[in-house]
Amino acid sequence: MSIEKSKSPIHSVTRMTSKPVLYSYYRSSASYRVRIALQVKGIDYEYKAVSLIKDGGEQYKEEYKKLNPMGQVPTLVIDGHTLVQSLPIIEYLDETRPSPRLLPEDPAGRVKVRSLAEIVNSGIQPLQNLPVLKKVGDDQKLEWAKYWIERGFKALETSLQETAGKYSFKDEVTMADLCLVPQVYNALRFGIDMSEFPTIHKVYDALVTLEAFKAAHPSNQPDTPADQKP
């Protein structure tokens, strides 16, 4: 382990440079977002798989809950800190490794990007994640998930019609895109008709061709089941 000075113009600290460790599940939206961020910023990391299915869910084990009290993925151990919650993690990465940026410089642009991200992060994803679907029950979970995704996507589609260029916000990849792609991946799994959301679909198609997004895709992870690898 060596020590090097941070090159961050915002906060000059001395950082330990042991590789960051990401606790992730291949198909978790929130993990997927952070994987994309790490790829976009060219940050090499160690992948530690946390199966949300095996043994009733490895995220509930006492050892893991010490890292992440919500019993969720992702958790990112970086610079000697244990970080939880995907959007705060992405904001931390953007503040400490500002290039390439994932949030615009001006407050008006930043608030728009954050709002688009939150439409997904708090408006859609929590309502169709594993614990909620378990609570809703097997016979209702598909209809439930589709309902909330469609509802959220209607709002996102309207918002994107104002903000989108090549990507969610103008022509640069932002935190909003990191939330959009995993949510569309989920939507497709639940059989949502994406033709109702042409802007979302167009932005999604543009993003998934990018190398960082490909590398972060659920089909390319160490814990991707063999039958889901390309």
Binding site: Q85, P88, E91, S115
Partner: protein, 269 residues
């Protein structure tokens, strides 16, 4: 007749006085006109940017998300116009065509400020933080900022979306109470653990930060479903400390323009 109309033509000196006066008046008039024109243009620009205009907050007295923004505005001393959006009346006023143009998620709050229409409480709070940095609500250190944001998100995406009015409507009256209690208890169990590491007087050390704005409204909703708060001593302690702060009192659900009379504090308190 000419002399009546143009008395200046009576004599040369008289004409010269008249001419000088007119030129001076003309300059004044021109300057005045220029001033008015420039001020009008500047006012229009500032109005377009919304900076001269009082912010407008679309809110419901009991909405957690609106409440958080009310606290932020109060902490930063920002005066604003309050516009009620009743989430139950008329099938929910947030569902009208007119309101949906402001907020496509059909939710409160929406904040109109500096010529922008903002929605989503956490981004709104971050915007206020970046544009009005006096009375900061986030620490400077990126790692501590990440902790503050994570605590806020435990509530913002981990608890509140699972117990808001839309979800309660979907789950149905019969099951709503148990459903809401379940998700708040689950989230508070995690939050209590996380706070044991970070809390001082408030969520992060001894200064009010973003997660404090999220905590108080969530506790209010926990109490409405009779959640046993004695399981969460750190959360309870912080709530008590925050309730002493003026900005938190001002922003409380019991003190809003649209708070029903039977929910207002009694005259004795």
């Amino acid at each position: 007749m000419l002399k009546e109309v143009f008395p200046c033509l009576l004599s040369w000196p008289s004409y010269r006085r008249f001419r000088r006066a007119t030129i001076r008046l003309g300059h004044v008039a021109l300057n005045l006109e220029h001033y008015r024109h420039t001020k009008k243009r500047s006012d229009k620009k500032m109005a377009a940017e919304g900076r001269n205009v009082k912010p407008i907050l679309y809110s419901f007295f009991r909405s957690s998300a609106a409440w958080r923004v009310r606290i932020a505005l109060a902490m930063k001393g920002i005066d604003y116009d309050y516009r009620e959006v009743h989430l139950r009346k008329d099938g929910g006023q947030q569902r009208t065509e007119e309101y949906r143009k402001l907020n496509p998620m059909e939710q409160v709050p929406t904040l109109i400020i500096d010529g922008h229409t903002l929605f989503q409480s956490l981004p709104i709070c971050e915007y206020l933080e970046e544009t009005r940095p006096e009375v900061p609500l986030l620490p400077k250190d990126p790692a501590v900022r990440a902790k503050a944001r994570a605590l806020a998100e435990i509530i913002n995406s981990g608890i509140q979306p699972l117990q808001n009015v839309n979800v309660r409507n979907k789950v149905g009256e019969e099951k709503a109470h148990e459903w809401v209690k379940y998700w708040i208890e689950r989230g508070f169990t995690a939050l209590e653990k996380a706070l044991q590491e970070t809390a001082g007087k408030y969520c992060i050390g001894d200064k009010v930060t973003l997660p404090d704005l999220f905590l108080v409204p969530q506790i209010y909703h926990a109490q409405r479903v009779d959640l046993d708060m004695s399981q969460f001593p750190t959360i309870k302690r912080i709530d008590a400390a925050l309730s002493e702060i003026d900005a938190f009192k001002t922003a409380h659900a019991i003190r809003q323009p649209d708070t029903p009379p039977d929910e207002r504090p009694s005259s004795k308190t």
